[in-house]
């Protein structure tokens, strides 16, 4: 019955296929097909072939439709059920295989889902604001000289007011700036992140308060009664969610304010500011807001009018900025403005990190798929006899393919379920690992799109690796297979497919290893970098001096007393106050002019990181003195104004000259700030993060330039963290209500600064390790199978006098060719792909040959070891036994 002979004319193929799909399985369907074919043949013989084909098509449709819609007998759904049942049974029977596939898929899909959830929450999903893609972030820049933006300096209030009056691209334009408030409460002094905004801010972003009222225009004027809106989370944390919160009073920086509203839960805009107030009440002379040349940290947010594009708005903004430069040359020449989508602004650098991790995880998922494909092909090969038998018993080719596809789909869906569970676990771990300043971290969670992603990944990989073995193991006629499979051989096509798959796995593993190698070298470069100071043994904290209603003299007295108090603590060798801490970034960037040099045009004025620091600052951080002297207690507000510059500033401002005795003045040329004489040069220290170049830095004595929220630095001879409570006590002995916050060792601060690199290094390393393990398993399987298949041949060789070493070399050579091909392809891809993680790297270039050679060598050694281990089985073959088989 199997010796099918082609009839003289063949019915249309697609219709025949349709029938195969739609008809009941087994003999019943076959008979109906036979009937139709018989009639088709007789119609073709007696009439036109064309009419016969048309008839066949019609009948095929009619039959398929009838059986699909009204399944009298087993229909496609029943066969599917049958197939699924059969698949589950066969999979359960070969436990080792199923476990290997499921483990591979769990890892691949789990990792992909976790990283995707992260990426989706942080980068892909729009901000949780209505029509978030219409929201633009506007700010002022120092011009690059051609009208383009070069360095953000934030907007001045008068510039913002002019934008608001002149720009027509926006439906609403608001401004805000961050502000820190001290809650002066003798019981619970606290320090909160706040935000000052124009009254319409929440209206522009489209989020009204959940409780109470929004700001009104009247709240946003000089002299308005102080009202604030607080964040939901702050309400819960500080007030335990008290229902009568609206109308309560809160003392911010010593001033009583009334709480008028509570924001909705999850409103995480702008670094999760806890307390919002209007900026308009500060629009009075004397605090710099009204000064057009004073860029006070304000940034604009605008909602584009419908139909207005980002580019149109940008052009308009640039035009307005250009006319402001002409109207106010003293303050606005060399200043331009630019905008970008708010989402881009919020996500920032994290985008690059996440996309490169996503690419890495894509690689891993691909490896997982290839590995599963490999396992399935191997299984297909060993099942050829079963398939041949089924084919001989009348199972159609489509039916066989469908059976195999259903099997891989069952596997991949089970893998998706397990992968989702693994993904959830991994995501929890990732959240713990992620740098805390990662934007939108609170929005990260395993969500519906992640589930869809897992299902999609599973289905695509199911089809991807299901199709290949299905085609390669069902491509032969049953009768041929039966004959051949009895001789225990598998087609050379199958083993070729497997070798190609292994080469692909080796290549992908190499790509991931390269990523891991590069990030490892980055971490090494970062940790071996000299930061310019000694972080060990140092405890830091921040206090808020401002907002107590003190005058400058009181602040100076307090800081003197505090330093004396701190230096008396047991174990403390040095104590100091400073505006900025190393690595955390400059808190005060400003232009300045140099005494003995001509004043350049405004756009070309030099700028430096200014830092008021007390005496002992340099000693506490162990910064090297290059020339001159550091500050002493004798540098007071009444003594001559002095400054210490860093090496970079000295070299750039006075190349080849002695900087000692030169003069600098902070601010724009027309400002009346005092001149400071340079008395010392300090070694450079990493200010803006460890991987950033050190900018020019100018230190001023703390008493000559007071800071409202200074950092406290104490160096201890023993464990610095033991000083945490003594430090708090010392502050509170002087002022009980003063908030002390952000207490941490400098070492912890530095660890935080490299958290991003550390996270990507960890993830890349884990992925690479998994990739190498998966590739090794695959390689081992291929060689072992090849040994098994060629047992007979090896027996002949041994009988004819081949040594065991020669036999071993035979299999090693086969493995080496595969490994070599994989390594070559992998090295090429790694060289091409590694530039995508350029943003993550420091101290090493993306196409670093040392890294590439090292990881290639490592992978080669591992692969050869696996190859040898698996090929060793060939040496255990006994000629006599092998020949008898």
């Amino acid at each position: 019955m199997t010796g099918q002979q082609s009839p003289p004319v063949r019915p249309p193929r697609i219709s025949a296929w349709l029938l195969e799909l739609g008809l009941p399985p087994g003999e019943h369907g076959q008979i109906i097909r036979g009937d139709l074919q018989e009639e088709f043949a007789s119609r073709a013989a007696s009439g036109s072939l064309r009419a016969a084909r048309a008839w066949y098509r019609r009948q095929a449709l009619s039959v398929t439709a009838r059986y699909l819609v009204n399944p009298q007998k087993a229909s496609i759904m029943d066969t599917l059920r049958q197939d699924v049942g059969y698949a589950v049974r066969t999979l359960a029977k070969s436990r080792g295989f199923t476990a290997a596939v499921l483990a591979t898929l769990t890892i691949g899909i789990g990792a992909a889902t976790a990283i995707f959830s992260f990426l989706n929450a942080v980068v892909i999903r729009p901000l949780p604001l209505p029509d978030a893609d219409r929201l633009m972030f506007l700010t002022e820049y120092q011009s690059d000289g051609r009208g383009g933006p070069s360095r953000v300096i934030s907007a001045s209030w008068p510039s913002f007011a002019d934008w608001r009056d002149r720009l027509t691209s926006f439906d609403g334009l608001a401004a805000s700036r961050s502000a820190a408030f001290s809650i002066v409460d003798p019981e619970h002094p606290d320090r909160v992140i706040g935000r000052q905004a124009t009254w319409n801010f929440l209206r522009v972003v489209g989020v009204p308060p959940a409780m109470g009222r929004d700001f009104s225009q009247d709240d946003d004027r000089p002299g308005a009664a102080g009202v604030v809106i607080i964040r939901h989370e702050f309400w819960q944390r500080a007030y335990g969610g008290a229902p009568d919160i609206v109308g309560q009073t809160i003392r911010l920086n010593g001033t009583a304010k009334t709480i008028v509203g509570v924001l909705p839960e999850g409103f995480g805009f702008a670094r999760s500011a806890d307390v919002w107030e209007t900026v308009g009440q500060y629009l009075v002379e004397g605090n710099g807001l009204l000064d057009r040349g004073n860029h006070t940290g304000l940034n604009g947010i605008g909602r584009l009018k419908p139909g207005v594009s980002e580019q149109t708005a940008r052009t308009e903004l640039r035009t307005v900025a250009a006319s402001l430069s002409k109207e106010y040359p003293n303050t606005n020449s060399g200043i331009t403005a630019d905008l970008e989508p708010l989402a881009t602004r919020v996500v920032g650098d994290t985008k690059a990190v996440l996309w490169s991790l996503f690419a890495a995880v894509g690689c891993l998922l691909l490896i997982a798929c290839v590995n599963v494909a490999n396992l399935l092909v191997a299984r297909g090969a060993s099942r050829q006899q079963e398939l041949a038998l089924r084919s001989a018993l009348g199972c159609g080719r489509f039916r066989l393919i469908r059976q195999l596809l259903v099997e891989s789909l069952v596997l991949s869906l089970a893998g998706a379920a397990l992968g989702l569970a693994a993904g959830w676990g991994l995501l929890t771990a990732l959240l713990a690992l992620a740098p805390t300043d990662t934007p939108r971290l609170a929005e990260v969670g395993l969500d519906a799109s992640a589930v869809l992603f897992a299902l999609g990944a599973a289905l695509i990989s199911g089809l991807l690796f299901g199709l290949l073995p299905a085609l390669s193991s069902s491509g032969v006629h049953g009768s041929q297979l039966l004959v051949r499979s009895l001789r225990a051989g598998t087609s050379s096509a199958t083993s070729r497919v497997r070798r190609v798959l292994i080469a692909v796995e080796v290549a992908l593993a190499l790509v991931l290893l390269t990523g891991a190698g590069l990030t490892l070298r980055t971490m090494h470069a970062l940790s071996s970098l000299n930061p310019g100071f000694d972080p060990t043994g140092v405890l830091t904290a921040r206090i808020t001096v401002g907002g107590q209603g003190w005058d400058a003299e009181r602040v100076r007295a307090f800081s003197r007393d505090l330093l004396a108090e701190l230096r008396r603590l047991p174990g403390v060798t040095h104590a100091a106050l400073a505006l900025s801490l190393p690595v955390e970034g400059s808190q005060w960037g400003s232009v300045f002019i140099v005494g003995d040099k001509p004043v350049p045009p405004r756009a070309e004025l030099p700028s430096a990181a200014f830092a008021p620091v007390s005496d002992e600052y340099f000693q506490a951080l162990k910064v090297r003195l290059v020339a001159g002297r550091f500050f002493t207690p004798q540098d007071t507000d009444t003594s001559p104004r002095v400054a210490v510059v860093n090496e970079t500033a000295a070299a750039r401002l006075w190349p080849g000259e002695n900087p000692i005795g030169k003069r600098v003045k902070q601010g724009w040329p027309e400002w009346t700030t005092p001149w400071h004489e340079v008395v010392g040069v300090a070694a450079d220290l990493k200010l803006n993060g460890i991987d950033q170049n050190t900018p020019m830095q100018i230190y001023l004595p703390f008493p000559q330039s007071l800071s409202p929220a200074p950092a406290v630095i104490v160096r201890s001879a023993s464990d610095p963290s033991a000083l945490t409570q003594p430090l708090r006590d010392a502050v509170h002995r002087l002022v009980p209500s003063m908030p002390v916050y952000a207490v941490q060792t400098l070492t912890a601060l530095m660890d935080g600064a490299v958290a991003r690199q550390r996270a990507s290094m960890t993830i890349f390393s884990i992925f690479a390790l998994i990739a190498v393990i998966l590739a090794s398993i695959g390689l081992y399987g291929v060689i072992a199978q090849s040994v098994n298949q060629r047992t007979h041949e090896v027996g002949v060789r041994l009988a004819l006098g081949a040594t065991r070493g020669e036999v071993l070399r035979l299999f090693l050579r086969q493995g080496l060719v595969t490994i070599g091909a994989g390594l070559v392809a992998g090295a090429g891809s790694a060289a091409l792909l590694s530039r995508f993680i350029e943003d993550l790297l420091f101290g090493v270039t993306p196409n670093d040959l040392t890294t590439l050679w090292t990881v290639t060598g490592m992978l080669f050694v591992v692969a050869v070891a696996v190859c040898y281990w698996s090929a060793r089985r060939s040496t255990k073959i006994e000629a006599a036994v092998a020949l008898r088989e």
């Binding site: 099918q4 002979q5 003999e27 008979i31 036979g34 009937d35 018989e38 449709l61 009619s62 009838r66």
Partner: protein, 114 residues
Amino acid sequence: MTAPAPVYLGEFEQLVLLAILRLGADASGVCIAAKLEVEAGRRVARGALYTTLDRLEDKGLLRWKIVPGGENRGRVPRRIYSVTPRGLSAVRAAHGVLRRMSRGLEGVLDPPRS
């Protein structure tokens, strides 16, 4: 043995059973279709035919046996259908109803002779 309750037959089902009775030992799917198309003068969608055959089999009105197929159908075996006693009584019942209902209407039902 009590006679089973008479089964209601649809028009197409009656025609199919009658065709099988007429064809006797030749009642394969192909021949049934051909008979219906020639005698009843109507197009028979094979989907309808095969699902009807399945349905009649489920009701116990017909049965079939397998005979080997020839070259013209790729040696795929064929089914030869036959009407069961239960099927025969169903056809008879249906036919009786038709006969009773048309009695006395010969003048209306028979085409006028010229």
